[in-house]
Subunit: 321 residues, 2 copies
Amino acid sequence: MGLGWIRLDDGSNMRGRRKCRYCGKPAVVWLGYANLGLCAEHYVSCYENKIRRMLEKHRIRGMLMVAVSGGKDSMALLGTIGRISESLDIDVFAFHINLGIGEYSEVSEETVKRFCKDVRVPLIIYDCRKDLGFSIPDIVKRVQRPACSVCGIVKRWVINKVAYENGFDFVATGHNIDDASTYILKALMTNDIYSLVRGQEEFSESKPELRLVGRIRPQFYLSERENMLYVQLTNIPIVEDQCPYSRRATIHKYKRAWDVLLKINPIAQINIVRVMKKIRSMMAFPEPKLVQCSVCGFPTESEGGVCTFCRLMEMMKNSHN
Amino acid sequence: MGLGWIRLDDGSNMRGRRKCRYCGKPAVVWLGYANLGLCAEHYVSCYENKIRRMLEKHRIRGMLMVAVSGGKDSMALLGTIGRISESLDIDVFAFHINLGIGEYSEVSEETVKRFCKDVRVPLIIYDCRKDLGFSIPDIVKRVQRPACSVCGIVKRWVINKVAYENGFDFVATGHNIDDASTYILKALMTNDIYSLVRGQEEFSESKPELRLVGRIRPQFYLSERENMLYVQLTNIPIVEDQCPYSRRATIHKYKRAWDVLLKINPIAQINIVRVMKKIRSMMAFPEPKLVQCSVCGFPTESEGGVCTFCRLMEMMKNSHN
Protein backbone atom coordinates (compact mmCIF):
# COMPACT_ATOMS: atom_id res chain seq x y z
CA MET A 1 0.00 0.00 0.00
CA GLY A 2 2.61 2.49 -1.12
CA LEU A 3 2.20 6.23 -0.95
CA GLY A 4 3.56 6.55 -4.44
CA TRP A 5 0.29 8.06 -5.57
CA ILE A 6 -2.42 10.24 -4.13
CA ARG A 7 -6.09 9.81 -4.91
CA LEU A 8 -7.39 13.22 -5.85
CA ASP A 9 -11.10 12.40 -5.81
CA ASP A 10 -11.29 11.68 -2.09
CA GLY A 11 -11.66 15.25 -0.84
CA SER A 12 -7.94 15.85 -0.34
CA ASN A 13 -6.69 19.36 -0.92
CA MET A 14 -4.95 18.29 -4.12
CA ARG A 15 -8.35 18.09 -5.76
CA GLY A 16 -8.69 20.02 -8.97
CA ARG A 17 -5.14 21.30 -8.89
CA ARG A 18 -3.76 18.54 -11.09
CA LYS A 19 -4.87 17.86 -14.63
CA CYS A 20 -4.87 14.73 -16.76
CA ARG A 21 -1.76 14.72 -18.92
CA TYR A 22 -3.69 13.41 -21.91
CA CYS A 23 -6.94 15.41 -21.95
CA GLY A 24 -6.52 18.24 -19.44
CA LYS A 25 -9.60 17.23 -17.41
CA PRO A 26 -9.21 17.29 -13.60
CA ALA A 27 -7.07 14.33 -12.54
CA VAL A 28 -8.51 11.64 -10.26
CA VAL A 29 -5.10 10.18 -9.53
CA TRP A 30 -1.54 11.35 -9.17
CA LEU A 31 1.15 8.74 -9.79
CA GLY A 32 4.07 10.11 -7.78
CA TYR A 33 6.62 7.69 -9.24
CA ALA A 34 5.89 8.90 -12.77
CA ASN A 35 4.93 12.53 -12.04
CA LEU A 36 1.69 11.79 -13.81
CA GLY A 37 -1.86 13.05 -13.30
CA LEU A 38 -4.71 11.15 -14.99
CA CYS A 39 -8.50 11.36 -15.33
CA ALA A 40 -10.52 8.17 -14.72
CA GLU A 41 -10.79 7.25 -18.38
CA HIS A 42 -7.08 7.69 -19.10
CA TYR A 43 -6.12 5.95 -15.87
CA VAL A 44 -8.04 2.87 -17.01
CA SER A 45 -6.51 2.89 -20.47
CA CYS A 46 -2.96 3.49 -19.13
CA TYR A 47 -3.40 0.64 -16.65
CA GLU A 48 -4.64 -1.73 -19.34
CA ASN A 49 -1.80 -0.69 -21.64
CA LYS A 50 0.76 -1.59 -19.01
CA ILE A 51 -0.70 -5.10 -18.74
CA ARG A 52 -0.96 -5.36 -22.52
CA ARG A 53 2.69 -4.35 -23.00
CA MET A 54 3.81 -6.91 -20.45
CA LEU A 55 1.89 -9.67 -22.25
CA GLU A 56 3.26 -8.55 -25.63
CA LYS A 57 6.82 -8.27 -24.33
CA HIS A 58 6.80 -11.93 -23.30
CA ARG A 59 4.80 -13.06 -26.35
CA ILE A 60 1.89 -14.44 -24.35
CA ARG A 61 -0.74 -15.96 -26.64
CA GLY A 62 -2.82 -19.15 -26.92
CA MET A 63 -4.52 -20.68 -23.86
CA LEU A 64 -3.98 -18.48 -20.80
CA MET A 65 -5.10 -19.47 -17.32
CA VAL A 66 -5.55 -16.52 -14.95
CA ALA A 67 -5.34 -17.62 -11.32
CA VAL A 68 -7.94 -15.63 -9.35
CA SER A 69 -8.30 -15.53 -5.57
CA GLY A 70 -11.08 -12.95 -5.54
CA GLY A 71 -8.81 -10.20 -4.13
CA LYS A 72 -8.19 -6.85 -5.81
CA ASP A 73 -4.96 -7.81 -7.62
CA SER A 74 -6.08 -10.96 -9.40
CA MET A 75 -9.56 -9.58 -10.10
CA ALA A 76 -8.08 -6.45 -11.70
CA LEU A 77 -5.84 -8.75 -13.74
CA LEU A 78 -8.73 -10.91 -14.92
CA GLY A 79 -10.83 -7.84 -15.71
CA THR A 80 -8.07 -6.33 -17.82
CA ILE A 81 -7.11 -9.52 -19.64
CA GLY A 82 -10.80 -10.21 -20.28
CA ARG A 83 -11.07 -6.85 -22.02
CA ILE A 84 -7.89 -7.03 -24.09
CA SER A 85 -7.54 -10.77 -24.76
CA GLU A 86 -9.23 -10.82 -28.15
CA SER A 87 -6.88 -8.25 -29.68
CA LEU A 88 -3.93 -10.25 -28.33
CA ASP A 89 -5.06 -13.63 -29.67
CA ILE A 90 -5.41 -15.00 -26.15
CA ASP A 91 -8.01 -17.59 -25.02
CA VAL A 92 -8.55 -16.62 -21.41
CA PHE A 93 -9.82 -18.91 -18.65
CA ALA A 94 -10.16 -18.06 -14.97
CA PHE A 95 -8.96 -20.53 -12.35
CA HIS A 96 -10.00 -20.40 -8.72
CA ILE A 97 -8.93 -22.61 -5.83
CA ASN A 98 -11.39 -23.03 -2.96
CA LEU A 99 -8.97 -23.39 -0.06
CA GLY A 100 -11.64 -24.49 2.41
CA ILE A 101 -10.96 -21.63 4.83
CA GLY A 102 -14.55 -21.33 6.11
CA GLU A 103 -16.66 -18.28 5.29
CA TYR A 104 -13.68 -16.54 3.65
CA SER A 105 -13.37 -19.23 0.98
CA GLU A 106 -17.13 -19.39 0.35
CA VAL A 107 -17.35 -15.62 -0.20
CA SER A 108 -14.27 -15.74 -2.44
CA GLU A 109 -15.67 -18.48 -4.68
CA GLU A 110 -19.04 -16.71 -5.00
CA THR A 111 -17.36 -13.38 -5.89
CA VAL A 112 -15.17 -14.99 -8.54
CA LYS A 113 -18.13 -16.96 -10.01
CA ARG A 114 -20.28 -13.83 -10.23
CA PHE A 115 -17.57 -11.78 -11.95
CA CYS A 116 -16.64 -14.52 -14.44
CA LYS A 117 -20.32 -14.83 -15.39
CA ASP A 118 -20.57 -11.03 -15.85
CA VAL A 119 -17.52 -10.82 -18.11
CA ARG A 120 -18.19 -14.20 -19.76
CA VAL A 121 -14.86 -15.77 -18.96
CA PRO A 122 -14.99 -19.56 -18.46
CA LEU A 123 -14.07 -20.53 -14.90
CA ILE A 124 -12.38 -23.68 -13.61
CA ILE A 125 -12.75 -24.31 -9.89
CA TYR A 126 -10.53 -26.58 -7.84
CA ASP A 127 -11.92 -27.49 -4.43
CA CYS A 128 -9.15 -28.48 -2.02
CA ARG A 129 -11.47 -30.49 0.20
CA LYS A 130 -13.00 -32.49 -2.66
CA ASP A 131 -10.17 -32.63 -5.19
CA LEU A 132 -7.20 -32.91 -2.85
CA GLY A 133 -8.87 -34.54 0.13
CA PHE A 134 -7.79 -31.81 2.60
CA SER A 135 -8.61 -28.15 3.19
CA ILE A 136 -5.79 -25.71 4.05
CA PRO A 137 -6.91 -25.67 7.74
CA ASP A 138 -6.72 -29.50 7.75
CA ILE A 139 -3.10 -29.35 6.63
CA VAL A 140 -2.11 -26.40 8.85
CA LYS A 141 -3.42 -28.24 11.91
CA ARG A 142 -1.19 -31.25 11.26
CA VAL A 143 2.14 -29.95 9.94
CA GLN A 144 4.79 -27.76 11.53
CA ARG A 145 4.79 -24.94 8.99
CA PRO A 146 3.32 -21.41 8.88
CA ALA A 147 -0.13 -21.32 7.22
CA CYS A 148 0.99 -18.96 4.42
CA SER A 149 3.85 -21.29 3.56
CA VAL A 150 1.53 -24.35 3.40
CA CYS A 151 -0.98 -22.43 1.28
CA GLY A 152 1.75 -21.21 -1.09
CA ILE A 153 3.06 -24.75 -1.64
CA VAL A 154 -0.42 -26.13 -2.33
CA LYS A 155 -1.45 -23.28 -4.65
CA ARG A 156 1.76 -23.39 -6.70
CA TRP A 157 1.46 -27.14 -7.21
CA VAL A 158 -2.29 -27.13 -7.97
CA ILE A 159 -2.07 -24.20 -10.41
CA ASN A 160 0.73 -25.85 -12.38
CA LYS A 161 -0.90 -29.30 -12.36
CA VAL A 162 -4.29 -28.03 -13.55
CA ALA A 163 -2.70 -25.78 -16.18
CA TYR A 164 -0.50 -28.61 -17.46
CA GLU A 165 -3.22 -31.26 -17.54
CA ASN A 166 -5.61 -28.94 -19.37
CA GLY A 167 -3.09 -27.96 -22.02
CA PHE A 168 -2.64 -24.30 -21.05
CA ASP A 169 0.26 -22.39 -22.62
CA PHE A 170 0.72 -19.95 -19.74
CA VAL A 171 -0.50 -19.08 -16.26
CA ALA A 172 -0.96 -15.44 -15.19
CA THR A 173 -0.95 -14.48 -11.49
CA GLY A 174 -1.69 -11.24 -9.66
CA HIS A 175 1.74 -10.65 -8.18
CA ASN A 176 2.35 -6.90 -7.65
CA ILE A 177 5.23 -4.50 -6.97
CA ASP A 178 4.39 -4.40 -3.23
CA ASP A 179 4.88 -8.19 -3.13
CA ALA A 180 8.04 -8.13 -5.22
CA SER A 181 9.69 -5.25 -3.35
CA THR A 182 8.68 -6.54 0.09
CA TYR A 183 10.06 -9.99 -0.72
CA ILE A 184 13.43 -8.31 -1.36
CA LEU A 185 13.25 -5.93 1.61
CA LYS A 186 12.47 -8.79 3.99
CA ALA A 187 15.23 -10.99 2.55
CA LEU A 188 17.76 -8.14 2.95
CA MET A 189 16.69 -7.40 6.52
CA THR A 190 16.80 -11.06 7.56
CA ASN A 191 20.10 -11.92 5.81
CA ASP A 192 18.25 -14.41 3.60
CA ILE A 193 20.73 -14.88 0.75
CA TYR A 194 18.80 -17.82 -0.68
CA SER A 195 15.71 -15.74 -1.46
CA LEU A 196 17.82 -12.89 -2.87
CA VAL A 197 19.77 -15.14 -5.20
CA ARG A 198 16.64 -16.96 -6.29
CA GLY A 199 14.65 -13.78 -6.82
CA GLN A 200 11.22 -13.36 -8.34
CA GLU A 201 10.72 -12.68 -12.01
CA GLU A 202 7.96 -11.13 -14.10
CA PHE A 203 8.14 -14.14 -16.44
CA SER A 204 9.37 -17.71 -16.41
CA GLU A 205 9.49 -20.03 -19.42
CA SER A 206 7.48 -23.19 -19.98
CA LYS A 207 9.46 -26.42 -19.62
CA PRO A 208 7.23 -29.11 -21.12
CA GLU A 209 9.78 -31.88 -20.50
CA LEU A 210 9.43 -31.12 -16.77
CA ARG A 211 5.66 -30.57 -16.95
CA LEU A 212 6.17 -26.90 -16.04
CA VAL A 213 3.76 -24.32 -17.48
CA GLY A 214 5.21 -20.82 -18.12
CA ARG A 215 4.28 -18.11 -15.64
CA ILE A 216 3.61 -14.43 -16.32
CA ARG A 217 3.08 -11.75 -13.67
CA PRO A 218 1.66 -8.86 -15.67
CA GLN A 219 1.27 -6.58 -12.61
CA PHE A 220 4.90 -7.00 -11.55
CA TYR A 221 5.48 -3.22 -11.68
CA LEU A 222 1.97 -2.16 -10.58
CA SER A 223 1.14 -1.44 -6.94
CA GLU A 224 -1.73 -2.72 -4.80
CA ARG A 225 -3.15 0.79 -4.84
CA GLU A 226 -3.09 0.98 -8.61
CA ASN A 227 -4.88 -2.38 -8.83
CA MET A 228 -7.43 -1.20 -6.26
CA LEU A 229 -8.10 2.00 -8.18
CA TYR A 230 -8.62 0.05 -11.40
CA VAL A 231 -11.09 -2.22 -9.59
CA GLN A 232 -12.96 0.82 -8.25
CA LEU A 233 -13.08 2.69 -11.54
CA THR A 234 -14.28 -0.34 -13.53
CA ASN A 235 -16.69 -1.64 -10.84
CA ILE A 236 -15.12 -5.06 -10.41
CA PRO A 237 -16.52 -6.95 -7.38
CA ILE A 238 -13.79 -8.08 -4.97
CA VAL A 239 -13.42 -9.88 -1.65
CA GLU A 240 -12.60 -7.13 0.84
CA ASP A 241 -11.82 -9.46 3.76
CA GLN A 242 -8.29 -10.63 4.33
CA CYS A 243 -7.61 -14.32 4.72
CA PRO A 244 -7.88 -15.05 8.48
CA TYR A 245 -4.46 -16.77 8.42
CA SER A 246 -2.57 -14.03 6.63
CA ARG A 247 -3.49 -11.39 9.22
CA ARG A 248 -0.81 -12.76 11.50
CA ALA A 249 1.90 -13.00 8.81
CA THR A 250 5.04 -10.94 9.55
CA ILE A 251 5.36 -10.02 5.87
CA HIS A 252 2.66 -7.36 6.49
CA LYS A 253 4.99 -5.49 8.85
CA TYR A 254 7.62 -5.27 6.13
CA LYS A 255 4.97 -4.27 3.60
CA ARG A 256 3.84 -1.37 5.78
CA ALA A 257 7.43 -0.09 6.01
CA TRP A 258 7.05 1.02 2.39
CA ASP A 259 4.66 3.76 3.53
CA VAL A 260 7.68 5.49 5.07
CA LEU A 261 10.18 4.59 2.32
CA LEU A 262 7.93 5.75 -0.52
CA LYS A 263 7.53 9.14 1.14
CA ILE A 264 11.29 9.56 0.78
CA ASN A 265 11.33 8.28 -2.79
CA PRO A 266 8.08 7.41 -4.66
CA ILE A 267 9.86 5.16 -7.17
CA ALA A 268 11.76 3.19 -4.49
CA GLN A 269 9.80 -0.08 -4.93
CA ILE A 270 10.40 -0.23 -8.66
CA ASN A 271 14.06 0.72 -8.15
CA ILE A 272 14.77 -1.98 -5.57
CA VAL A 273 13.23 -4.65 -7.84
CA ARG A 274 15.18 -3.42 -10.87
CA VAL A 275 18.52 -3.09 -9.11
CA MET A 276 18.23 -6.56 -7.57
CA LYS A 277 17.44 -7.96 -10.99
CA LYS A 278 20.62 -6.36 -12.36
CA ILE A 279 22.61 -7.69 -9.41
CA ARG A 280 21.28 -11.22 -9.95
CA SER A 281 22.29 -11.05 -13.60
CA MET A 282 25.85 -10.18 -12.51
CA MET A 283 26.08 -13.03 -10.02
CA ALA A 284 28.13 -16.10 -10.78
CA PHE A 285 25.44 -18.46 -9.61
CA PRO A 286 24.16 -21.61 -11.29
CA GLU A 287 20.42 -21.71 -12.07
CA PRO A 288 18.55 -23.94 -9.61
CA LYS A 289 18.41 -27.37 -11.19
CA LEU A 290 14.87 -28.60 -11.75
CA VAL A 291 14.06 -32.31 -11.87
CA GLN A 292 10.81 -34.26 -11.99
CA CYS A 293 9.40 -35.26 -8.60
CA SER A 294 9.60 -39.04 -8.27
CA VAL A 295 6.11 -39.13 -6.76
CA CYS A 296 3.95 -36.68 -8.76
CA GLY A 297 6.11 -36.08 -11.84
CA PHE A 298 5.91 -32.28 -11.54
CA PRO A 299 9.08 -30.19 -11.27
CA THR A 300 11.07 -29.71 -8.08
CA GLU A 301 14.41 -28.25 -7.00
CA SER A 302 14.57 -30.70 -4.13
CA GLU A 303 17.74 -32.79 -4.17
CA GLY A 304 15.98 -35.79 -2.70
CA GLY A 305 13.81 -35.91 -5.80
CA VAL A 306 10.49 -35.55 -3.93
CA CYS A 307 8.77 -32.15 -4.17
CA THR A 308 7.67 -30.10 -1.16
CA PHE A 309 4.01 -30.66 -2.01
CA CYS A 310 4.39 -34.46 -2.05
CA ARG A 311 6.31 -34.33 1.22
CA LEU A 312 3.43 -32.33 2.69
CA MET A 313 0.94 -34.95 1.46
CA GLU A 314 3.13 -37.72 2.87
CA MET A 315 3.10 -36.00 6.27
CA MET A 316 -0.70 -35.75 6.07
CA LYS A 317 -1.04 -39.48 5.45
CA ASN A 318 1.32 -40.39 8.29
CA SER A 319 -0.27 -38.02 10.80
CA HIS A 320 -3.76 -39.37 10.13
CA ASN A 321 -5.83 -39.64 13.25
CA MET B 1 19.95 6.37 15.25
CA GLY B 2 18.54 2.86 15.23
CA LEU B 3 16.01 1.60 17.74
CA GLY B 4 18.03 -1.57 18.19
CA TRP B 5 18.56 -0.71 21.84
CA ILE B 6 16.73 1.09 24.60
CA ARG B 7 18.48 3.21 27.21
CA LEU B 8 17.24 2.04 30.58
CA ASP B 9 18.71 4.83 32.71
CA ASP B 10 16.63 7.60 31.17
CA GLY B 11 13.48 7.12 33.23
CA SER B 12 11.82 4.75 30.78
CA ASN B 13 9.59 2.06 32.24
CA MET B 14 12.12 -0.62 31.37
CA ARG B 15 14.30 0.62 34.22
CA GLY B 16 15.28 -1.99 36.71
CA ARG B 17 13.44 -4.77 34.95
CA ARG B 18 16.47 -5.96 33.00
CA LYS B 19 19.70 -7.17 34.54
CA CYS B 20 23.29 -7.16 33.30
CA ARG B 21 24.07 -10.54 31.77
CA TYR B 22 27.54 -10.57 33.33
CA CYS B 23 27.05 -9.32 36.91
CA GLY B 24 23.29 -9.27 37.53
CA LYS B 25 23.26 -5.54 38.45
CA PRO B 26 20.42 -3.44 36.95
CA ALA B 27 21.09 -2.93 33.26
CA VAL B 28 21.58 0.60 31.88
CA VAL B 29 21.20 -0.56 28.30
CA TRP B 30 19.30 -3.17 26.34
CA LEU B 31 20.82 -4.20 23.01
CA GLY B 32 17.79 -5.46 21.11
CA TYR B 33 19.81 -6.97 18.26
CA ALA B 34 21.69 -9.20 20.68
CA ASN B 35 19.01 -9.70 23.38
CA LEU B 36 21.56 -8.36 25.82
CA GLY B 37 21.20 -6.26 28.98
CA LEU B 38 24.35 -4.63 30.40
CA CYS B 39 25.36 -2.44 33.36
CA ALA B 40 27.52 0.64 32.65
CA GLU B 41 30.79 -1.08 33.47
CA HIS B 42 30.12 -4.12 31.31
CA TYR B 43 28.73 -2.00 28.49
CA VAL B 44 32.02 -0.10 28.34
CA SER B 45 34.12 -3.26 28.38
CA CYS B 46 31.91 -5.01 25.78
CA TYR B 47 32.12 -1.96 23.53
CA GLU B 48 35.90 -1.78 23.84
CA ASN B 49 36.18 -5.52 23.21
CA LYS B 50 34.28 -5.17 19.94
CA ILE B 51 36.75 -2.53 18.76
CA ARG B 52 39.67 -4.60 20.00
CA ARG B 53 38.48 -7.71 18.17
CA MET B 54 38.08 -5.76 14.94
CA LEU B 55 41.64 -4.42 15.22
CA GLU B 56 42.98 -7.89 16.03
CA LYS B 57 41.03 -9.54 13.22
CA HIS B 58 42.70 -7.31 10.63
CA ARG B 59 46.11 -7.41 12.37
CA ILE B 60 46.29 -3.67 12.97
CA ARG B 61 49.54 -2.70 14.66
CA GLY B 62 52.34 -0.15 14.30
CA MET B 63 51.57 3.52 13.57
CA LEU B 64 47.81 4.11 13.53
CA MET B 65 46.26 7.46 12.60
CA VAL B 66 42.72 7.94 13.97
CA ALA B 67 40.80 10.53 11.95
CA VAL B 68 38.71 12.59 14.40
CA SER B 69 36.04 15.12 13.49
CA GLY B 70 34.98 15.85 17.06
CA GLY B 71 31.64 14.04 16.67
CA LYS B 72 30.48 11.14 18.82
CA ASP B 73 31.62 8.33 16.50
CA SER B 74 35.23 9.31 15.96
CA MET B 75 35.66 10.56 19.54
CA ALA B 76 34.37 7.23 20.91
CA LEU B 77 36.81 5.51 18.57
CA LEU B 78 39.78 7.60 19.69
CA GLY B 79 38.80 7.16 23.35
CA THR B 80 38.66 3.39 22.97
CA ILE B 81 41.82 3.01 20.92
CA GLY B 82 43.64 5.32 23.34
CA ARG B 83 42.72 2.96 26.18
CA ILE B 84 43.56 -0.32 24.46
CA SER B 85 46.42 0.66 22.13
CA GLU B 86 49.26 -0.33 24.42
CA SER B 87 48.12 -3.92 24.82
CA LEU B 88 47.76 -4.16 21.02
CA ASP B 89 51.21 -2.78 20.20
CA ILE B 90 49.69 0.24 18.45
CA ASP B 91 51.21 3.75 18.36
CA VAL B 92 48.12 5.92 18.16
CA PHE B 93 47.96 9.46 16.76
CA ALA B 94 44.86 11.59 16.33
CA PHE B 95 44.33 13.51 13.10
CA HIS B 96 41.91 16.40 12.74
CA ILE B 97 41.02 18.45 9.66
CA ASN B 98 39.86 22.00 10.25
CA LEU B 99 37.44 22.39 7.33
CA GLY B 100 37.06 26.14 7.79
CA ILE B 101 33.28 25.95 8.26
CA GLY B 102 33.01 28.97 10.60
CA GLU B 103 32.12 28.50 14.26
CA TYR B 104 31.41 24.78 13.71
CA SER B 105 35.02 24.08 12.72
CA GLU B 106 36.47 26.23 15.51
CA VAL B 107 34.45 24.40 18.17
CA SER B 108 35.38 21.04 16.61
CA GLU B 109 39.12 21.76 16.67
CA GLU B 110 38.98 23.00 20.28
CA THR B 111 37.03 19.92 21.41
CA VAL B 112 39.47 17.53 19.73
CA LYS B 113 42.50 19.41 21.12
CA ARG B 114 41.12 19.31 24.66
CA PHE B 115 40.35 15.59 24.53
CA CYS B 116 43.70 14.62 22.99
CA LYS B 117 45.46 16.57 25.75
CA ASP B 118 43.36 14.80 28.41
CA VAL B 119 44.10 11.32 27.09
CA ARG B 120 47.68 12.18 26.04
CA VAL B 121 47.34 11.19 22.43
CA PRO B 122 49.51 13.24 20.01
CA LEU B 123 47.37 15.28 17.60
CA ILE B 124 48.12 16.33 14.03
CA ILE B 125 45.98 19.17 12.70
CA TYR B 126 45.48 19.97 9.02
CA ASP B 127 43.99 23.38 8.36
CA CYS B 128 42.24 23.49 4.97
CA ARG B 129 42.54 27.26 4.67
CA LYS B 130 46.26 27.35 5.50
CA ASP B 131 47.48 24.00 4.20
CA LEU B 132 45.27 23.63 1.14
CA GLY B 133 44.60 27.28 0.36
CA PHE B 134 40.80 26.92 0.46
CA SER B 135 38.15 26.22 3.09
CA ILE B 136 35.27 23.87 2.29
CA PRO B 137 32.89 26.87 1.92
CA ASP B 138 35.37 28.42 -0.58
CA ILE B 139 35.19 25.29 -2.72
CA VAL B 140 31.42 24.74 -2.34
CA LYS B 141 30.80 28.31 -3.52
CA ARG B 142 32.69 27.76 -6.76
CA VAL B 143 32.00 24.20 -7.91
CA GLN B 144 28.78 22.50 -9.00
CA ARG B 145 28.71 19.69 -6.46
CA PRO B 146 26.83 19.06 -3.19
CA ALA B 147 28.76 20.22 -0.12
CA CYS B 148 28.94 16.73 1.44
CA SER B 149 30.40 15.34 -1.76
CA VAL B 150 33.09 18.07 -1.91
CA CYS B 151 33.94 17.56 1.76
CA GLY B 152 34.16 13.79 1.30
CA ILE B 153 36.56 14.12 -1.62
CA VAL B 154 38.81 16.56 0.26
CA LYS B 155 38.83 14.56 3.50
CA ARG B 156 39.59 11.25 1.79
CA TRP B 157 42.50 12.75 -0.12
CA VAL B 158 43.93 14.73 2.82
CA ILE B 159 43.69 11.80 5.25
CA ASN B 160 45.52 9.46 2.87
CA LYS B 161 48.17 12.02 1.92
CA VAL B 162 49.01 12.96 5.52
CA ALA B 163 49.01 9.31 6.62
CA TYR B 164 51.25 8.31 3.71
CA GLU B 165 53.72 11.18 4.08
CA ASN B 166 54.06 10.62 7.81
CA GLY B 167 54.70 6.90 7.48
CA PHE B 168 51.50 5.61 9.08
CA ASP B 169 50.66 1.92 8.67
CA PHE B 170 46.90 2.34 8.92
CA VAL B 171 44.13 4.92 9.18
CA ALA B 172 41.08 4.31 11.42
CA THR B 173 37.81 6.19 10.80
CA GLY B 174 34.53 6.41 12.71
CA HIS B 175 32.27 4.82 10.12
CA ASN B 176 29.28 3.12 11.82
CA ILE B 177 26.51 0.62 11.00
CA ASP B 178 24.00 3.43 10.43
CA ASP B 179 26.29 4.83 7.71
CA ALA B 180 26.99 1.43 6.17
CA SER B 181 23.35 0.26 6.14
CA THR B 182 21.98 3.61 4.95
CA TYR B 183 24.50 3.70 2.09
CA ILE B 184 23.05 0.36 0.92
CA LEU B 185 19.41 1.29 1.54
CA LYS B 186 19.77 4.50 -0.45
CA ALA B 187 21.57 2.75 -3.31
CA LEU B 188 18.82 0.10 -3.49
CA MET B 189 16.04 2.69 -3.44
CA THR B 190 17.67 4.84 -6.12
CA ASN B 191 18.70 1.96 -8.43
CA ASP B 192 22.37 2.89 -7.91
CA ILE B 193 24.10 -0.27 -9.04
CA TYR B 194 27.53 1.38 -9.00
CA SER B 195 27.44 2.01 -5.24
CA LEU B 196 26.08 -1.47 -4.55
CA VAL B 197 28.77 -3.21 -6.58
CA ARG B 198 31.49 -1.05 -5.07
CA GLY B 199 30.26 -1.45 -1.51
CA GLN B 200 31.90 -0.32 1.70
CA GLU B 201 34.22 -2.54 3.68
CA GLU B 202 35.33 -2.71 7.29
CA PHE B 203 38.92 -2.98 6.10
CA SER B 204 40.98 -2.21 2.99
CA GLU B 205 44.61 -3.17 2.48
CA SER B 206 47.58 -0.81 2.15
CA LYS B 207 48.99 -0.51 -1.37
CA PRO B 208 52.37 1.21 -0.94
CA GLU B 209 53.11 1.10 -4.69
CA LEU B 210 50.04 3.33 -5.18
CA ARG B 211 50.70 5.44 -2.07
CA LEU B 212 47.52 4.09 -0.48
CA VAL B 213 47.43 3.65 3.30
CA GLY B 214 45.23 0.80 4.61
CA ARG B 215 41.90 1.76 6.16
CA ILE B 216 40.13 0.18 9.13
CA ARG B 217 36.60 1.02 10.27
CA PRO B 218 36.48 -0.54 13.73
CA GLN B 219 32.88 0.62 14.41
CA PHE B 220 31.52 -0.92 11.21
CA TYR B 221 28.98 -3.02 13.15
CA LEU B 222 28.35 -0.50 15.96
CA SER B 223 25.47 1.99 15.81
CA GLU B 224 25.48 5.76 16.39
CA ARG B 225 23.54 5.15 19.58
CA GLU B 226 26.09 2.67 20.87
CA ASN B 227 28.88 5.15 20.17
CA MET B 228 26.89 7.91 21.89
CA LEU B 229 26.32 5.78 24.96
CA TYR B 230 30.02 4.97 25.19
CA VAL B 231 30.82 8.68 24.97
CA GLN B 232 28.32 9.44 27.75
CA LEU B 233 29.46 6.66 30.06
CA THR B 234 33.17 7.53 29.70
CA ASN B 235 32.68 11.33 29.77
CA ILE B 236 34.25 12.06 26.40
CA PRO B 237 33.66 15.66 25.25
CA ILE B 238 32.03 15.85 21.79
CA VAL B 239 30.75 18.44 19.34
CA GLU B 240 26.97 18.26 19.62
CA ASP B 241 26.24 20.57 16.68
CA GLN B 242 25.74 19.13 13.25
CA CYS B 243 27.73 20.51 10.36
CA PRO B 244 25.61 23.34 8.87
CA TYR B 245 25.96 21.81 5.39
CA SER B 246 24.98 18.27 6.29
CA ARG B 247 21.61 19.34 7.71
CA ARG B 248 20.26 19.61 4.20
CA ALA B 249 21.65 16.25 2.98
CA THR B 250 19.00 13.79 1.74
CA ILE B 251 20.93 10.88 3.28
CA HIS B 252 19.38 11.86 6.64
CA LYS B 253 15.92 10.99 5.35
CA TYR B 254 17.08 7.49 4.49
CA LYS B 255 18.86 7.24 7.84
CA ARG B 256 15.66 8.07 9.71
CA ALA B 257 13.80 5.29 7.86
CA TRP B 258 15.76 2.82 10.01
CA ASP B 259 13.71 3.92 13.03
CA VAL B 260 10.76 2.12 11.43
CA LEU B 261 12.72 -0.82 10.00
CA LEU B 262 14.52 -1.59 13.27
CA LYS B 263 11.20 -1.77 15.10
CA ILE B 264 10.30 -4.66 12.77
CA ASN B 265 13.68 -6.33 13.14
CA PRO B 266 16.35 -4.97 15.53
CA ILE B 267 19.19 -6.71 13.69
CA ALA B 268 18.14 -5.47 10.25
CA GLN B 269 21.05 -3.03 9.78
CA ILE B 270 23.68 -5.66 10.49
CA ASN B 271 21.82 -8.17 8.28
CA ILE B 272 21.58 -5.86 5.25
CA VAL B 273 25.32 -5.10 5.46
CA ARG B 274 26.21 -8.79 5.82
CA VAL B 275 23.94 -10.03 3.05
CA MET B 276 25.19 -7.39 0.60
CA LYS B 277 28.76 -8.38 1.44
CA LYS B 278 27.90 -12.01 0.58
CA ILE B 279 26.22 -10.91 -2.63
CA ARG B 280 29.23 -8.85 -3.68
CA SER B 281 31.50 -11.82 -3.08
CA MET B 282 29.29 -13.87 -5.45
CA MET B 283 29.33 -11.26 -8.20
CA ALA B 284 31.41 -11.71 -11.30
CA PHE B 285 32.76 -8.20 -11.23
CA PRO B 286 36.35 -7.03 -11.68
CA GLU B 287 37.86 -5.00 -8.82
CA PRO B 288 38.02 -1.29 -9.66
CA LYS B 289 41.46 -0.68 -11.14
CA LEU B 290 43.50 1.83 -9.16
CA VAL B 291 46.21 3.90 -10.83
CA GLN B 292 48.37 6.78 -9.65
CA CYS B 293 46.94 10.24 -10.36
CA SER B 294 49.15 11.96 -12.93
CA VAL B 295 48.96 15.23 -10.97
CA CYS B 296 49.31 14.33 -7.26
CA GLY B 297 50.57 10.74 -7.45
CA PHE B 298 47.93 9.40 -5.07
CA PRO B 299 45.59 6.59 -6.14
CA THR B 300 42.53 7.06 -8.32
CA GLU B 301 39.97 4.91 -10.16
CA SER B 302 39.50 7.67 -12.71
CA GLU B 303 40.16 6.49 -16.26
CA GLY B 304 41.51 9.87 -17.32
CA GLY B 305 44.33 9.40 -14.83
CA VAL B 306 43.53 12.56 -12.83
CA CYS B 307 41.89 12.05 -9.44
CA THR B 308 38.66 13.75 -8.36
CA PHE B 309 40.50 15.85 -5.80
CA CYS B 310 42.94 17.22 -8.39
CA ARG B 311 40.07 17.96 -10.76
CA LEU B 312 38.40 19.88 -7.94
CA MET B 313 41.59 21.87 -7.37
CA GLU B 314 41.89 22.52 -11.10
CA MET B 315 38.34 23.90 -11.13
CA MET B 316 39.21 26.14 -8.18
CA LYS B 317 42.19 27.61 -10.03
CA ASN B 318 40.21 28.22 -13.19
CA SER B 319 37.26 29.79 -11.40
CA HIS B 320 39.48 32.23 -9.50
CA ASN B 321 37.87 35.63 -9.21
